[in-house]
């Protein structure tokens, strides 16, 4: 369903196989032969938020071409590993994007072992987006998949033994971050648009495939291909218009996505109001007051945060509230950081039982047991609200008990009504947000957007092939539609042969 980077580890397999075949390779060897990837990739490799400088990395054979085109280096390339202050321009429009430092790394003396380049540009989102889009417009250059730089470094033998061991975890972390990012991007209008294109393209392919596999024996209406012709043309027009129309791009939801979740009446909306120091959300003692997502932008310790309050999680017969709960769960899945709010007065009075109680509670709030304790514990904070209503002695003993439980996410006692414990909580929250901002992938929607653009462009190119071969060779024309769907599938999810056959059998009576 999600655009994971399958290509990534596949090449890793290729490499591992290579050194297995070599008799000299004993133990877990690092391959020395660099595998040359034909494609050049780029990615934002610095964090965001309060950073003055952003670093964009480029790796692959076209790196020198990229430098020449974007840094106006028509003559010789700069000496390797030497910073040079240049005007960075759009290769097509020649428009000035920024002034910044460029560096050139001649392979194999680079992080990935390939020819590489770095752009150190100003950290504003507009500049970053412009540079990433300019890179994506160059022939043979595309946004990197999750973990791709590391993978190439691995190929080139640039990673140490422990780094190779950690490759799986790294890829997990990066694909997870990309997955969350993609989910956010796909939420809403844009997602519906892409899904609609994908659905229509699947039908086009199914109808072409039906015409190829069955029209000789079956009553496949003659008009089927004509319909496909016009559908494909319509799709091309729509995608092209979308690519050209900058204004219609959705506002990017930048910042660390922090979501407040928990049972009804735990005080989630109070926490939101406390954090943004204004009554942004309605609070009342009535369970189920908040029914939709309440979103607000905050600055926490200088880092941009998008804070969302969600409906209390409970089974409800009210259809509006049920929808609110569904949205709440969806939002939790997309979150970089989830604040799970618990009503302290509901905690077991015996402090020894609290840890187990909280474990159990978390499993009902967080999406899947897999994302529960271990993987997600750095993405979860427990807020034990209404601490003013708990006897101080019980609170202290509970705090002591929880401190010795490394399996649980950090827990903070807090009272939204008296603000007791707020400072401690803010310290913990701020350090989490800071860590998250250092991760180049979380909260860099411009990168996801650049990936989407690249795949949409390739999709349109592939559809051209359909028209080109439509009357000459239907197998090659179909190949164009298949390729377009593969690229679109990188955004909306992979489409297998079985799914196409399902559409064929649904739409046609295949009888022979």
């Amino acid at each position: 369903m999600l655009p994971c980077s399958w290509g990534l580890w596949r090449s890793a397999i290729h490499t591992l196989k290579t050194f297995r075949a070599s008799p000299s390779a004993r133990g877990l060897c690092i391959p020395t032969r660099a595998v040359c990837d034909a494609e050049t990739i780029f990615a934002l490799s610095s964090g965001h938020g309060r950073c003055g400088v952003a670093v964009v990395r480029v790796s692959g054979p076209a790196s020198s071409m990229v430098l020449r085109n974007m840094a106006g280096l028509t003559q010789a390339l700069p000496p390797p590993r030497t910073a040079l202050l240049r005007r960075i321009t759009d290769p097509q429009s020649k428009e000035l994007l920024d002034r910044g430092l460029v560096l050139w790394f001649k392979g194999p003396h680079s992080f990935t072992g390939e020819d590489s380049a770095e752009f150190h540009i100003h950290g504003g989102p507009a500049v970053i987006t412009a540079v990433l889009q300019a890179l994506g417009s160059l022939e043979g250059v595309r946004p990197a998949e999750a973990g791709e730089f590391t993978r190439r470094a691995f190929h080139a033998g640039k990673l140490g033994l422990t780094e190779v061991e950690g490759l799986g975890d790294l890829i997990h972390a990066e694909t997870e971050a990309q997955r969350r990012q993609a989910l956010r991007q796909m939420d809403g209008e844009l997602g519906r648009l892409y899904q609609d294109w994908s659905y229509r393209l699947k039908r086009c392919l199914a109808h072409v495939e039906a015409f190829i596999d069955f029209s000789e024996d079956e009553l496949i209406e003659d008009g089927v291909l004509n319909q496909v012709d016009s559908s494909v043309r319509q799709l091309e027009t729509e995608i092209e218009r979308h690519l050209k129309d900058e204004r219609r791009g959705e506002r990017l939801r930048t910042g660390v996505q922090v979501v407040i979740a928990g049972a009804t009446n735990a005080g989630k909306s109070s926490l939101l109001n406390t954090l943004c120091q204004r009554p942004a959300a309605i609070v009342s003692p009535i369970a189920g007051t908040t029914r939709d997502i309440v979103e607000t932008s905050l600055d926490i310790g200088g880092f941009p945060v998008l804070l969302s309050d969600t409906a209390g999680l409970r089974d409800s017969s009210d259809s509006v509230e049920r929808e609110g709960v569904r949205r709440a769960r969806q939002r939790v899945e997309q979150a970089d950081l989830t604040l799970v709010v618990v009503d302290s007065t509901q905690l077991p009075p015996d402090p020894q039982l609290v840890a187990a109680f909280l474990q159990e509670h978390l499993s009902t709030v967080l999406p899947s047991p897999e994302a529960g304790m271990t993987a997600a514990s750095d993405r979860v904070l427990l807020v034990l609200n209404k601490s003013d209503l708990v006897p101080e002695e019980q609170r202290e003993r509970t705090e002591g008990e929880l401190r010795e439980r490394p399996g649980l996410p950090p827990a903070c006692f807090l009272s939204c009504s008296t603000s007791t414990g707020l400072e401690d909580f803010l310290t913990v929250l701020q350090s989490r947000v800071k860590t998250l901002c250092g991760d180049p992938l979380s909260g860099a929607p411009s990168l996801t957007q650049a990936r989407h653009r690249a795949h949409l462009q390739q999709s349109v190119q592939a559809l051209n092939q359909y028209h080109q071969y439509r009357d000459q060779d239907l197998a090659l024309a179909a190949e164009g539609v298949r390729l377009a769907l593969t690229h679109l599938g990188r955004i909306t999810g992979r489409v297998g042969a079985e799914e196409i056959l399902d559409i064929i059998f649904r739409d046609f009576c295949i009888g022979k």
């Binding site: 994971c4 397999i13 034909a38 799986g168 015409f211 000789e216 897999e370 197998a475 090659l476 190949e479």
Partner: protein, 688 residues
């Protein structure tokens, strides 16, 4: 007269191996035993024998070896590709089709050579004769008439519970066991088969044949603990030709010049002018009425066993897509047969209603039925329990092929039969098993789909199942498979190999010659007359570039450069096809390489996924434990598998492989299966 003579001849030749007349001639020990004489069984037996294994084919009735039990046709879109590939590996069905065909046509002629579908209507008698005489003249192959009662397997090794080894079979007549290193089961619809017609149900796998395989079913399910599922299929009534008013149907002529299936044949046995036509007609509202009125008398369609979506009975077509006209093809059954086969009218209602239904169709208003249609429900073994060599994972030496694996169709059966026969032979000869890559053949796609994903309905080949359709073409099956079939697999005879190699070399020379003639597009226009070239005037194009253009034929180029091209006239069609597809195949070569490298990494079959000390989620562990993918490639295609999970798995397998010598050895031999499963690039001069 002629038919009678052949019949006598066949009878004489066959009788000497029949168990009834000469059981003392049969040995008690073979390398390979093949059970079943259908499309899968005959290919399996012939392949094992070609490989050099002493092979025994056991069938219920020698006379029905090579019988076409359902439709009298071979090939089609996707299926034709399979026939060409079986032929490229020196199988029987392509040559049998050339011998028995009475109506040849290339389907999809207007849609591009990659999806052309070679197809033929067959003469049932000629097909059977060809297969039977072919088997009887195959060295090292013995045919025995009998029913298998029991599959003999060794007791499982206490250290490896559930792991058996096949030791042979025992016949129903209770005689001594016949021993072998490998057994190929191709029992078709006979595994717990039941026949349906109207409200009556009887045990059996085919009308007119003995029910059987009860003992086999028991061994497979109870002793070996294999999971089985249930599927259904059916066949139409056969109609007396004389009773049909063909003037009310539309005549469908064959191709004027028949194209042989086999790479060895330049022409078919049937002369162009001797070919028979087919006829097309349609269902009427009256047909729908009869179906609706008879539903309550029709057990088969009320059952819940899974039937195919693409070859449904007329009952399910009408019920699923009401109010439509459905096509009915009236196909000849042979040169001398007095019957017609109504393709598209498979039905299971009571015979008197079948007659009523037929007569609702104008051309069939006076039709007489020779044998009524009926339905079959049967068990199949869930094919995810097999390795890519078609061997049962838990039972060394036991191979399954054909409908027993949940497929439908002669071609699908033949393809599996051949590959199971190859591996049964290799196992018996102590050679490592082999797999075919899905990047290299439809047979590879078929087997990979079966063992990797399993089936939920009878599996049939479509070209849309192949990712690399523009490379897996009917025209180049010989280049894709024959050299390796000889050099590595051992199932191809020297004669065929030599022919394929000479074609390969000839094509390569011709391609080089084409590339050597280069002119500017202006000069090309001058030479070839009015052709539309999109390139700039100054661009230099070589002959191969030019051949990609729609309006340019090899003949045109050869007449422009007779001195260097005219000697390659025999390849003109293949060169044109190659020129058009080559750039696309090159674009896909990276993707092909990737899939092949995944396929080549085997996962040990005894891996304990549930306790593997790597970071895998419980869900992923359970999926892996249930499906037990054969290769890393198969693991990636499992729903729910994550990229990180694959990396962890890969690291683990490689690490343990290097630490543990015993494991290393096993890994290597199983890896070999995967590695051998690819053609190396040097074997593919074209398209790579």
């Amino acid at each position: 007269m002629l038919a009678q003579k052949l019949h006598l001849l066949r009878h004489n030749v066959l009788s000497f191996v029949s168990s009834r007349t000469g059981s003392d001639l049969t040995r008690r020990q073979y390398d390979v035993i093949v059970v079943g004489g259908g499309h899968a069984g005959t290919e399996a037996a012939a392949a094992a024998a070609r490989l050099g294994a002493e092979t025994l084919l056991i069938t219920q009735k020698i006379m029905t070896i090579g019988a076409l039990s359902c439709n009298p046709s071979l090939g089609g879109v996707g299926k034709g590709q399979l026939v060409r590939e079986v032929d490229a590996l020196d199988g029987l069905c392509g040559r049998a089709g050339d011998s028995a065909g009475v109506h040849f046509s290339i389907l999809n002629r207007s849609k591009g050579p990659a999806v052309w579908g070679p197809r033929a209507q067959l003469d049932r008698e000629r097909y059977r004769q060809f297969i039977q005489s072919e088997l009887l003249s195959t060295p090292r192959l013995t045919v025995l008439e009998g029913s298998v009662d029991e599959l003999l397997v060794s007791q499982p090794n206490p250290e490896e519970p559930g792991h058996h080894r096949v030791t042979g079979i025992r016949l129903v007549d209770g005689s001594h066991p016949i021993l072998s290193s490998s057994v190929v089961l191709t029992t078709g619809t006979f595994l717990s088969g039941s026949l349906f017609m109207g409200q009556t149900t009887s045990p059996g796998g085919r009308m007119g044949d003995a029910q059987s395989c009860a003992g086999l079913s028991y061994t497979l399910k109870e002793t070996l603990g294999l999971r089985v599922g249930r599927l259904r299929t059916g066949t139409p009534p056969r109609i007396v030709k004389e009773s049909v008013d063909l003037s009310l149907a539309q005549l469908q002529a064959p191709d004027k010049q028949p194209t042989p299936f086999s790479f060895l044949n330049t022409h078919t046995r049937c002369k162009p002018e001797e070919q028979l036509p087919c006829y097309l007609t349609h269902t009427t509202p009256g047909v729908e009425r009869v179906v609706r009125e008879s539903v309550h008398l029709n057990c088969h369609i009320q059952q819940d066993a899974k039937g195919p979506r693409y070859c449904p009975s007329i009952e399910s077509r009408v019920l699923r897509f009401p109010g439509r006209r459905h096509q009915v093809w009236l196909e000849p059954e042979g040169l001398t047969s007095d019957l017609l086969y109504p393709q598209g009218l498979s039905m299971t209602m009571p015979p008197e209603l079948q007659l009523r239904l037929l007569r609702e169709i104008p051309a069939l208003h006076r039709a007489e039925i020779r044998t009524p249609g009926y339905g079959v429900q049967y068990d199949f073994v869930c094919p995810t329990q097999l390795t890519p060599s078609l061997q049962v994972k838990s039972t060394q030496g036991l191979f399954l092929a054909g409908q027993i694996n949940g497929t439908t169709g002669y071609e699908e059966a033949a393809a599996q039969g051949l590959w199971a026969g190859v591996n049964a032979g290799r196992t018996a000869l102590s050679l490592p098993p082999m797999a075919l890559s899905r990047t290299q053949s439809y047979i590879g796609v078929l087997i990979d789909d079966l063992v990797g994903r399993g089936v939920t309905e009878p599996y049939r080949m479509f070209t849309s199942r192949a990712e690399f359709r523009t490379y897996l073409r009917p025209d180049n099956a010989d280049l894709r498979l024959t050299p390796r079939g000889f050099e590595e697999v051992g199932c191809v005879t020297l004669r065929r190999y030599k022919k394929a190699v000479s074609v390969r070399d000839g094509l390569q020379e011709a391609l080089m010659a084409l590339q050597s003639v280069a002119l500017s597009s202006t000069r090309w226009r001058e030479k070839l007359g009015n052709i539309s070239l999109s390139e700039n005037k100054s661009t230099t194009l070589n002959g191969l570039d030019l051949l990609q253009y729609k309006d340019v034929s090899f003949e045109m180029l050869a007449s422009a450069f007779p001195e260097c091209l005219s000697q390659y006239f025999e390849y003109s069609q293949r060169l044109k096809i190659e020129a058009v597809y080559r750039p696309h195949c090159e674009k896909q070569s990276r993707e092909m390489e990737r899939i092949r490298s995944e396929e080549s990494l085997s996962l040990p079959s005894d891996m304990d996924y549930l306790s593997l000390p790597v970071s895998l989620s419980q869900e992923v562990r359970e999926i892996l434990d249930r499906v037990r993918p054969n290769t890393l490639g198969a693991a990636t295609r499992l729903p729910g598998m994550t990229p990180a999970g694959i990396i962890h798995l890969l690291n683990y397998v490689l690490r343990t492989g290097q630490r543990n010598r015993h494991t290393e050895h096993r890994n290597r031999s199983s890896q070999k299966e995967g590695e051998k499963g690819q053609l190396c690039a040097s074997n593919i001069p074209i398209s790579q």
